[in-house]
């Protein structure tokens, strides 16, 4: 077997079924739900070494390892999770899941609605980060984990980490919030709204009932993803990667792909359509928009964090303009004012928001060092 060094190897996802109803922030509830889960490493006898990985907008439960020996691509955070890696599976029992509302096997818009046996589609309730965290708490109960050693997430995942610390203070020892924000900015929401409008206005969307119509709102979803990708990269990174050079020697004076960046965006958009569901994309962007722990605490982020007990590590990337370091410093400032333990590292980077998925030595170094202490100090 040809397992790469530091890989968790071949992993098999499992589907866990939760038969007890889950009340949601929107006022509705799910009578039952399923979560797709992968785990790496061994849970110790005291169940004190568990780490939860929260995924971002388009992530899923397949965070590390391969699904078969000839799998061409490992999980989305394989450079960070594995034996000897920053999230060290020799020390931690690592749990990754596909969030509720997702399209990779957990209950979501593509699942069948028990009321009528049809796919939920647009009838699937809109979710909040709080709903996700409450479903993840059920998952922790199922796995026998009373308290996470750490909950870790980037971007939208970092919002789940914050929610965990605020809502279940006794169940999380360390909160690792990467490239995230205390809430979305108006600019962030504006990007999400354009992405949603692209999907909603696609004639193939059919009000979200495209499964029954046998169509896919691929134009809308593709546009949404192309827009997203612009915001995940810095101006400098795009310049370095694509320049503004024509692919051909002279302009063709038409709307075919003429520049490298156009070809990149079209490819990213198209490959996303092949692996993602439009209703899930809509739901995920709304969950991002709704996240605002300060609002839940009467308008004060400091008050929100007073409930937390976890120690925090906050990490931001210098070139990230989607969730800029200034947004992470808002989190840090509120944590300090609330008297919480927090460390903050700002990583020199070039790529932009996507840097949180990159094995940047300074970034992985801080994460590795922090988590080594988490493992050593225990509960």
């Amino acid at each position: 077997m040809n397992t790469p060094v530091g890989s968790v190897g071949v992993v098999t996802p499992q589907k866990l079924v939760f038969e007890e109803a889950l009340a949601l922030d929107c006022g509705r509830s799910l009578p039952r739900f399923e979560l797709m889960v992968e785990t790496y490493g061994q849970l110790n006898a005291a169940a004190s070494n568990a780490v939860l990985i929260c995924h971002a907008l388009s992530g899923d439960h397949h965070a590390a390892g391969l699904h078969s020996e000839d799998d061409s691509k490992p999980g989305w955070w394989d450079n960070c999770i594995g034996p000897g890696k920053p999230i060290d599976t020799d020390r931690f029992f690592v749990v990754a899941l596909n969030n509720l509302g997702g399209c990779k096997g957990s209950t979501g818009p593509v699942s069948l609605n028990p009321d009528n046996g049809q796919p939920y589609g647009p009838d699937f309730p809109l979710l909040t980060v709080g709903d996700w965290v409450r479903s993840q708490a059920r998952l922790a109960d199922r796995l026998g984990i009373r308290q996470w050693a750490a909950v870790i997430g980037g971007s939208l995942g970092g919002m789940q980490v914050q929610q965990w610390a605020i809502e279940f203070p006794a169940r999380i020892r360390h909160a690792v919030v990467i490239a995230s924000a205390p809430e979305l900015s108006a600019q962030n929401i504006a990007f999400n709204e354009i992405a949603r409008q692209a999907i909603l206005s696609d004639p193939d969307f059919h009000g979200g009932r495209y499964y029954e119509q046998g169509t896919v709102p691929s134009r809308g979803l593709k546009l949404a993803r192309m827009l997203g990708h612009i915001t995940y990269l810095s101006d400098e990174a795009m310049r370095a990667k694509f320049g503004a050079e024509l692919k051909a020697a002279t302009p063709a004076f038409n709307f075919d792909v003429e520049f490298e960046v156009e070809s990149y965006l079209r490819h990213q958009g198209q490959s996303f359509v092949d692996r993602f569901d439009a209703n899930t994309y809509l739901l995920m962007t709304k969950a991002l928009d709704y996240f605002d722990p300060a609002r839940d605490a009467g308008g004060s982020l400091v008050d929100a964090y007073r409930a937390a007990q976890a120690k925090f590590l906050v990490i931001a990337f210098a070139s990230d303009w989607r969730f800029s370091p200034a947004r992470s410093r808002e989190i840090v400032r509120a944590l300090v004012a609330a008297g919480r333990a927090v460390s903050y590292a700002e990583i020199d980077s070039q790529l932009g928001h996507d840097d949180f998925l990159m094995p940047i030595p300074q970034y992985h170094g801080v994460l590795r060092t922090y988590l080594a202490r988490v493992a050593e100090e225990g509960p």
């Binding site: 840090v332 400032r333 927090v342 903050y344 590292a345 020199d348 170094g365 801080v366 060092t369 080594a372």
Partner: protein, 202 residues
């Protein structure tokens, strides 16, 4: 973890009250905060710009916030800390006066240490027409991070002008000891100066 505390930090640490909430500006590898947390039940945060030092703080479990002191302390509320410490960083700042003012905004008191540019070795070098290279100021003029050096007299003059009261001072030699010579002619013989400042009316 068991490396001895740097001499300037050892000299100022008795000034930090038991259980104080402190902010350490330019906290380096977190040695002072780790020492004070273990010995005096102090809790707080360090600010540090250098990534390697940030990692060193994380490794010893010290709360560290990566930040540039020249950007000010706007992340911290008025009076948020009992003590704000800054050791051996004053002379490397763009605007030392602005940073000390910020220290006294967020702290009840501020502890500042710096090398005295009035020391006789410095004066001797300047009299000979050369920029000083001394045991307390080992860098040469072209590679030194020190851009705002001052003497004990200059610093006390700044404090008087800004209305900062000096609640404690220690003028020491380079091994951080007191001496008769320093007591008699402080600005000529002091190599390392330690000050505790308060805003007026405190």
């Amino acid at each position: 973890m068991n490396t001895p505390l740097r001499a300037d930090l050892a000299a100022l640490s008795p000034w930090i009250p038991e259980g104080a909430r402190i902010l350490d500006l330019g906290c380096g590898d977190g040695g002072l905060l780790a020492h004070l947390a273990a010995r005096r039940g102090v809790h707080g945060y360090g600010l540090e710009i250098d990534p390697a030092n940030v990692a060193a703080c994380v490794a010893r479990g010290v709360n560290v916030i990566q930040a540039d002191l020249d950007q000010g302390l706007s992340d911290f509320a008025d009076g948020a800390f009992d003590v704000v410490v800054m050791s051996q960083a004053l002379q490397a700042l763009q605007r030392p006066d602005a940073v000390v003012a910020e220290m006294l905004r967020v702290g009840q008191s501020a502890i500042v240490t710096f090398p005295n540019f009035g020391h006789w070795r410095v004066r001797r070098a300047l009299l000979a027409g050369r920029m000083p290279v001394t045991p307390s100021l080992p860098e040469r003029w072209f590679d030194t991070p020190n851009i705002h050096l001052c003497t004990v007299a200059d610093f006390e003059d700044l404090c008087a002008r800004r209305g900062w009261s000096i609640s404690r001072r220690a003028l020491l030699d380079r091994r951080h000891r007191e001496s008769l010579a320093i007591r008699l002619l402080p600005n000529l013989f002091c190599e390392q100066a330690l000050y505790e400042l308060r805003r007026p009316g405190r």
